[in-house]
């Protein structure tokens, strides 16, 4: 495209009212001074915050001094009760937290929002608060975090669990003390809460083999409802089997039983786990291969892709087991998705006779 055409495009965008098309960092940061005005014009300030978030999302680099100045201006916006504005403030706090100085000045505002009555604020406030918190400060909000992890509001519990997972990287010792609350959350009816809780519980216990074993045994007995949590449990179970050839056979039985789950996501996860296990026999492989073979003719491209990619991996170690899928793989050679077609061909090169591939 020529320069003239580009210019015309930009003019078109301006004419069509795309105010984000030609934003300039300096002018956006200058506009942020409006945050200091009283009374606060929520609509105007929301638009400025959106512009700021937009230039950040475009990859614009903001210097420490500029960021700090903008951050302090943003703190003034807490005086407004406008929900949309407050939500944008939380995101800006997160985005500027790594490039601005003294971000901890918003700790008390965020703690107040996190423990307040407004359900629309609580999850986002937890996430922003944990982003600016260090190990020392974490102890002062520990009580609130434990409460949030078991909160009946799924968004609140998920926000607390996911934030705790991030915090494991800097304050693992503190987060480990919340194991009881996290374990309680695994029983949540909310699918995402169950997934986040199981993930965090595993990372709390990861160095205790016996505890991980118990965890898998406990939750493999039909107690999980979330397909995401079950997929995650399959991953932990597979890791146990990988690391220990003397592992409990019930663990393999659990993964195998997931091949009959009603969710395709879980069925695929189980099949993919089984075929990746070391020392697996042909008869143990067979039901997993059958499932992947069925997925090869799915109308969903993502599922065909997943199936053929996994078959491709198995065909390296177990070409004979994948041979039963050759007819289905041949059909995929002409798949409209190039990645699927390529994977089908490379798989056939390992399992098929050459003449079938040449067609």
């Amino acid at each position: 495209k020529g320069k003239a055409a580009m210019k015309r495009d930009k003019k078109d965008e301006e004419a069509s009212g795309n105010i984000y098309a030609n934003l300039d960092k300096t002018s956006v940061l200058q506009e942020a001074r409006a945050f200091n005005e009283t009374p606060i014009n929520a609509r105007k300030c929301s638009l400025i915050l959106t512009k700021l978030l937009y230039i950040i999302s475009q990859g614009e680099q903001i210097g420490r001094t500029e960021a700090t100045e903008a951050f302090f201006a943003v703190t003034k916006l807490w005086q407004s009760k406008d929900a949309n504005l407050r939500r944008l403030v939380y995101i800006v706090v997160k985005d500027l937290s790594t490039i601005s100085d003294d971000v901890i000045i918003v700790t008390s505002s965020l703690t107040k929002d996190m423990t307040g009555r407004e359900d629309i604020y609580r999850p986002a406030a937890i996430r922003a608060l944990c982003r600016i918190t260090d190990t020392g400060m974490l102890q002062t909000i520990e009580r609130y975090m434990k409460q949030a992890i078991v909160d009946r509001n799924g968004a609140v519990a998920s926000a607390a669990l996911v934030s705790s997972t991030h915090l494991m990287k800097k304050s693992a010792e503190v987060v480990r003390r919340w194991a009881n609350e996290v374990q309680e959350s695994v029983s949540s009816d909310n699918h995402m809460v169950q997934y986040h809780a199981l993930g965090l519980l595993y990372h709390i216990r990861v160095n205790d083999r016996l505890a991980v074993n118990k965890l898998v045994q406990k939750f493999s007995k039909n107690s999980l409802k979330s397909p995401y949590a079950i997929c995650y449990l399959i991953r932990i179970a597979a890791r146990l089997l990988e690391e220990d050839d003397q592992a409990d056979s019930a663990i393999f039985t659990f993964i195998e039983s997931c091949l009959r789950h009603k969710s395709e996501m879980v069925v695929y996860e189980a099949a993919s786990a089984i075929v990746s296990l070391p020392n697996i026999t042909a008869s143990e492989l067979s039901p997993a291969i059958t499932v992947l073979q069925l997925f090869c003719s799915s109308p969903k491209a993502a599922l065909r892709f997943a199936a053929v990619r996994t078959l491709n991996k198995v065909s390296i170690k177990h070409p004979n087991s994948v041979m039963s899928c050759n007819v289905d793989l041949e059909k995929l050679i002409s798949d409209s998705n190039r990645s699927i077609a390529t994977l089908a061909i490379t798989t056939l090169l390992k399992t098929g006779r050459e003449c079938t591939v040449e067609k």
């Binding site: 495209k1 495009d9 069509s16 009212g17 105010i19 984000y20 929301s46 638009l47 959106t50 978030l53 937009y54 999302s57 475009q58 990859g59 614009e60 929900a83 949309n84 407050r86 939500r87 944008l88 995101i91 937290s97 790594t98 629309i120 999850p123 968004a155 998920s158 926000a159 996911v162 934030s163 997972t165 991030h166 990287k169 699918h191 995402m192 997934y195 986040h196 993930g199 965090l200 595993y202 990372h203 997929c231 995650y232 932990i236 890791r239 996501m265 695929y268 996860e269 993919s272 969903k300 993502a302 599922l303 892709f305 997943a306 990619r309 409209s336 998705n337 190039r338 990645s339 699927i340």
Partner: protein
């Protein structure tokens, strides 16, 4: 600046960090909005733009293909009129899980834009779309995949979204 996110996206199957990025491009392949979480793979804006360019070239010609493996990154995508939405995932992640993230993104945005999934409408609702991205993924961990839950959590002014419209 030390990147906040040090999660392991690729090698640890038990890592909860599995979404490397969420990006929406326009019909010229320019970023309308986007967020990257894997700072090892996409550390600089230059790297991100180069990846987007290559991804756009491969997907805009065959927009019905839905999925692509590019430089070890699983890219799941959906397009409509002049928008291309992508969820970039770790290559170890279950593709169907990544697909559920993309579907959530598409459906949540579609609800907010009252089924007008096109650039002009998205630009007009930029603030809400930024909130949607934030509700779906946190630093690479999948937060929520139910579009109704996502839309409800986006602090919309009462009359802005009617679920009865659906």
């Amino acid at each position: 600046v030390e990147p906040y996110n040090m999660g392991n996206f690729d090698n640890d199957p038990t890592s909860l960090y599995s979404v490397k990025g969420i990006v929406i491009l326009d019909q010229d392949g320019n970023r309308v909005i986007g967020k990257y979480f894997d700072h090892a793979a996409f550390g600089t804006t230059k790297e991100q733009k180069a990846f987007e360019k290559s991804m756009f070239q491969k997907t805009s010609r065959n927009s019905s293909a839905e999925i692509l493996l590019l430089d070890g990154v699983t890219c799941i995508y959906r397009s409509n009129v002049d928008l291309y939405m992508y969820v970039l995932g770790s290559s170890r992640e279950n593709e169907l899980i990544l697909e559920s993230v993309l579907n959530c993104l598409y459906d949540a945005i579609s609800t907010v834009l009252r089924k007008n999934v096109e650039k002009k409408a998205l630009v007009d609702a930029m603030d809400t779309c930024i909130l949607i991205l934030d509700e779906i993924c946190d630093e690479g961990i999948i937060m929520e995949t139910d579009p109704q839950a996502v839309v409800q959590r986006c602090a919309l002014k009462g009359d802005e979204v009617m679920f009865s419209d659906q």
